[in-house]
């Protein structure tokens, strides 16, 4: 089994198994036909109803679902990358949610209160969000590197600090938009049109610049990790910190840098949400894309492109999930599928052992004249 296969196959099988388990759940509680039709609805809701479109349906039937899927995929890609990048340097970033909250707030403020032409306004808001996310992540980074505070604990706690400060105070207090007339507005002020991420497929679809931006981020992170000196150093620090130190690599700087980058990516996710679809920091950030990022990174095997791929798959499922309700199936099934996939992918070593046994049995069919190849189990 090639190294690439070993990396990809467990994730693919886990997603398929999760799909099967959830199909079975619907089939058992309702019936098989409903389960199949619900899955089809989910698919049409995610990638568009191509059969209908090709039969002469309107373009909207395809563009709108694709736009929704791409939007969700963009957010999941960025938070997934956030977790994956930290993981590459050996840190487990549970704090993408908190970093995303600060990024979203920074984007909302710059978007609403700075007046600039669009070509500058969008980049400035994005940069502000990245910086805010990076700063929040760096608190955990500095605590880890200077004081040895475990990053899992600190990032979890910082998530709650972020929720308390932003959602429970700033957004409903000092930064709350001034109510116009009697209408009650939650959240911060509307961003200016110049700060909106441009829509790419016209008004019928919410697909905006956020999607290509997320893909570019994934590509950029991959190139950085695999092709640059500093990316190589970052991986070395993550895999064997003591050897990296002995080789003269500035381990603290690399770890701190990766953690800041992780925060910046999560912050960008917040910006894409605010500048792309929400138009302001809403009363509460709502969907926990930051936590989903953990699942996306793990299903993507902590590989930047793997995370992007996993994000695309679950973006489609999530966008289509609401359409399952047409058949009376609850819309939370995509999340359930994601949860199961995460559970199964956590057993990566079990998958590999099963696959290897299969392969060995296949090889054992011709009489064993080849010499024994024994793979030492990783302990």
């Amino acid at each position: 089994m090639g190294e690439r296969t070993r990396q990809v196959l467990p994730s693919v099988l886990s997603v398929l198994l999760a799909l099967a388990v959830c199909w079975l759940t619907i089939a058992l509680t309702r019936d098989a036909d409903t389960a199949t039709r619900a899955y089809l609805q989910m698919l049409w809701g995610g990638v568009g109803n191509w059969p209908a479109f090709l039969d002469g349906g309107s373009g909207t039937a395809v563009l709108r679902p694709l736009g929704e899927a791409a939007m969700k995929a963009a957010l999941l890609t960025l938070t997934g990358l956030s977790v994956a990048v930290a993981f590459k340097v050996g840190l487990f970033n549970i704090g993408a949610q908190g970093q995303m909250i600060w990024g979203a707030l920074a984007a909302a403020l710059v978007g609403a209160h700075v007046s600039l032409p669009g070509v500058l306004h969008v980049p400035l808001a994005l940069v502000a969000a990245a910086v805010a996310g990076a700063a929040w992540a760096s608190i955990a980074g500095v605590l880890k590197l200077k004081r040895g505070v475990h990053e899992v604990i600190s990032t979890i706690m910082l998530n709650w600090v972020a929720v308390s400060l932003v959602d429970n105070w700033l957004v409903i207090g000092p930064l709350r938009a001034v109510a116009e007339g009697a209408s009650s507005i939650t959240g911060t002020a509307e961003i200016l049109p110049s700060a909106q991420l441009p829509r790419l497929l016209g008004e019928s679809s919410r697909l905006n610049l956020g999607f290509p931006l997320a893909l570019a981020a994934a590509l950029g992170v991959w190139v950085w990790l695999s092709r640059t000196r500093s990316g190589y150093e970052t991986r070395a620090v993550g895999l064997t910190p003591e050897a990296a130190r002995a080789a003269g690599i500035p381990t603290l700087r690399r770890a701190g840098g990766a953690m800041a980058l992780a925060g910046a990516l999560a912050g960008l996710a917040g910006a894409v949400l605010v500048l792309g679809t929400e138009g302001r920091y809403p009363g509460s950030l709502g969907a926990p894309y930051g936590f989903d990022g953990i699942a996306i990174a793990l299903i993507g095997n902590n590989h930047p492109l793997g995370a992007a791929l996993a994000a695309a798959v679950f973006g489609v499922l999530r966008a289509g999930g609401t359409r399952m309700q047409l058949l009376g199936v609850h819309k939370s099934f995509p999340e359930l599928i994601q949860g199961f996939a995460l559970l199964f992918v956590a057993g990566r070593m079990v998958w590999l052992a099963l696959l290897e046994r299969r392969q060995k049995r296949a090889q054992a069919q011709p009489p064993a004249t080849s010499q024994a190849q024994v793979e030492v189990p990783r302990v």
Partner: protein, 524 residues
């Protein structure tokens, strides 16, 4: 790691040694016996009946115990807790620790071990931890005890003690299988010796009917007999009399370019400039206790300076100070033109310090990375490994291919993960990388620990080559024979102080031994 038509018979109540080079299949064969690996073909019988072990559990049930080279102990648990782990005595469903201690103490006493069952394992010396492993196996009723390279981690004294332990076990009717490639030691303790080469058992001899050189030849194979013998640091005398054979080739070294002819002249006084001058060095060890308590030493270009001593007397910390890995807390020194204080690993590298550390997997390599990525480690910011901020894939591949060929690394594939290589080949990669940087001061710690004869000879030749090229070499080794064979001068460390300093012509094994145990003497 593979086995090809390997046969072995083990007789009750004997001490059988299995010798062979790294990758010869010793460990694979033992792992088959222990149920870790499953043979593709062949049979396995115990007491005349065919058996098949699905897992080590089956092997343990049949009375086979194994002591691995890397201990399988939980460091934060006590001796007794470790020994009973998996079959704990209970009282009303709860762990009965008192009974566990009593049981373990009884087992230890029965086989003549001195162990405190209530001591935490991480407070024990390596030698004592190994005893815990042996007691663990015996406690589970092991009749056949397999010891995998047990002396690789032991001091000479501990090795002697282990030999007595093994003989004692045999005297009590147990069977001991010893895997080793320390031939002298094997001949001193074993009843029978099985030799493995390339996955096969090629010979079976009695110690009384063979010699170290004959065994070495069997291990390496015909055709390279002479070279194998000269490469083995059998005794100081033997090595000296073979003219410090840098030019010898074994099967494993055929592609190596001939070494410069000046290498043999190690007796010449070092006349090169001083590369390291250190006075009164002080540093704290891992355990918080003072490890260096005023060490002074001088190293010149073109000499090998051996650091001898019993394990844990400050040698490791000295090497760490010289490579910038440990903070200097007192004393001063000049290393390659700069101060020793405030040295960092990056600074040391920049000044031209090469480092072959003791714990390869923790410090020298990133085992999950490829061979070529490991070759670049430490020099990854400069050509041919980088171009600007980018990794130079082409340059890195070319240099790696070249080094793998020169140092005869097998397999010569730059793209496999380093952990797929055998220990000897991993070490070759490390040595190749460090020497390729053309260091002015080379700090090596236990450079041949756990390596087979071919690899040992090659590493030794390389160290002499570095010296011939004008590098100052500081070699820390627990293997006295290695120190005697290679060093131009030797410092003896005892409890963080220099207790002896000998020039090569005044080297005397007995006197070294006395100083290693703390006997005072005037500094040579």
């Amino acid at each position: 790691m593979s086995l090809e038509d390997a046969s072995l018979d083990i007789r009750t109540g004997e001490l059988l040694a299995v010798v062979g080079e790294n990758g010869a299949g010793k460990s694979s064969l033992m792992n088959v016996l222990y149920g870790l690996y499953h043979p593709d073909a062949g049979t396995f019988q115990m007491d005349g009946k065919p058996v098949r072990f699905k897992s080590p559990r089956d092997a343990i049930a049949k009375g086979i115990g194994m002591v691995h080279q890397h201990f399988m102990l939980v460091p934060t648990l006590t001796v007794a807790e470790n020994v009973v782990l998996g079959r704990e005595p209970t009282k009303r469903g709860l762990l009965d620790l008192d009974r566990a201690c009593d049981e373990v103490a009884a087992t230890a006493k029965r086989f003549g071990f001195q162990l405190d069952p209530r001591a935490r394992v991480d407070t024990l010396t390596v030698g004592s931890q190994q005893k815990v492993e042996i007691v663990k196996a015996l406690h589970r009723g092991a009749q056949v005890l397999i010891l995998d390279e047990p002396t690789a981690v032991l001091t000479p004294q501990e090795s002697d003690e282990l030999s007595q332990v093994m003989r004692g076990l045999v005297a009590q009717g147990r069977t001991v299988v010893l895997i080793s490639h320390k031939l002298k030691e094997v001949l001193g303790v074993a009843d029978r010796v099985a030799v493995m080469r390339r996955g096969r058992t090629v010979a079976e001899v009695r110690p009384s009917e063979t010699t170290v050189s004959e065994l070495a030849a069997l291990m390496v194979g015909e055709g390279s007999r002479g070279a194998a013998m000269t490469g083995v640091p059998v005794t100081a005398g033997a090595v000296a009399s073979t003219g410090l054979s840098g030019t010898g080739t074994t099967g494993a070294m055929e592609t190596r370019p001939p070494a410069p002819s000046s290498i043999g002249a190690s007796q010449e006084a070092a006349t090169g400039p001083v590369v390291l001058e250190a006075k009164d060095l002080r540093a704290t060890g891992e355990n918080g206790r003072p490890a260096l308590q005023g060490v002074s030493l001088t190293v010149r270009a073109g000499e090998i300076v051996g650091i001898a001593g019993v394990d844990g007397n400050g040698q490791r910390e000295l090497a760490e100070v010289l490579t910038g890995l440990r903070k200097l807390e007192g004393g001063e020194g000049t290393l390659l033109g700069g101060p020793l204080a405030g040295l960092t690993p990056a600074l040391a590298k920049a000044r031209g310090v090469g480092h072959v550390p003791e714990d390869r997997l923790a410090r020298a390599v990133v085992k999950a990375m490829t061979v070529e990525e490991n070759v670049a480690l430490g020099r990854h910011r400069q050509p041919p490994f980088a171009r600007g901020p980018w990794v130079d894939f082409k340059g890195r591949r070319e240099r790696t291919d070249q080094l793998l060929a020169t140092y005869d690394v097998r397999p010569p594939d730059p793209t496999v993960a380093l952990q797929a290589l055998s220990g000897g080949n991993q070490q070759k990669v490390v040595v190749a990388r460090e020497l390729d940087a053309d260091p002015k001061l080379l700090v090596v710690v236990q450079p041949t620990r756990g390596l087979d004869i071919g690899a040992v000879a090659q590493v030794h030749a390389r160290l002499r080559e570095a010296k011939a090229r004008g590098a100052g070499v500081v070699m820390v080794s627990l293997d006295l024979e290695e120190v005697l064979a290679l060093s131009d001068r030797v410092y003896v460390l005892y409890e963080g102080r220099v207790t002896g300093h000998f020039a090569r012509e005044h080297l005397d094994e007995r006197e070294l031994g006395r100083r290693m145990l703390g006997a005072e003497g005037s500094h040579g």
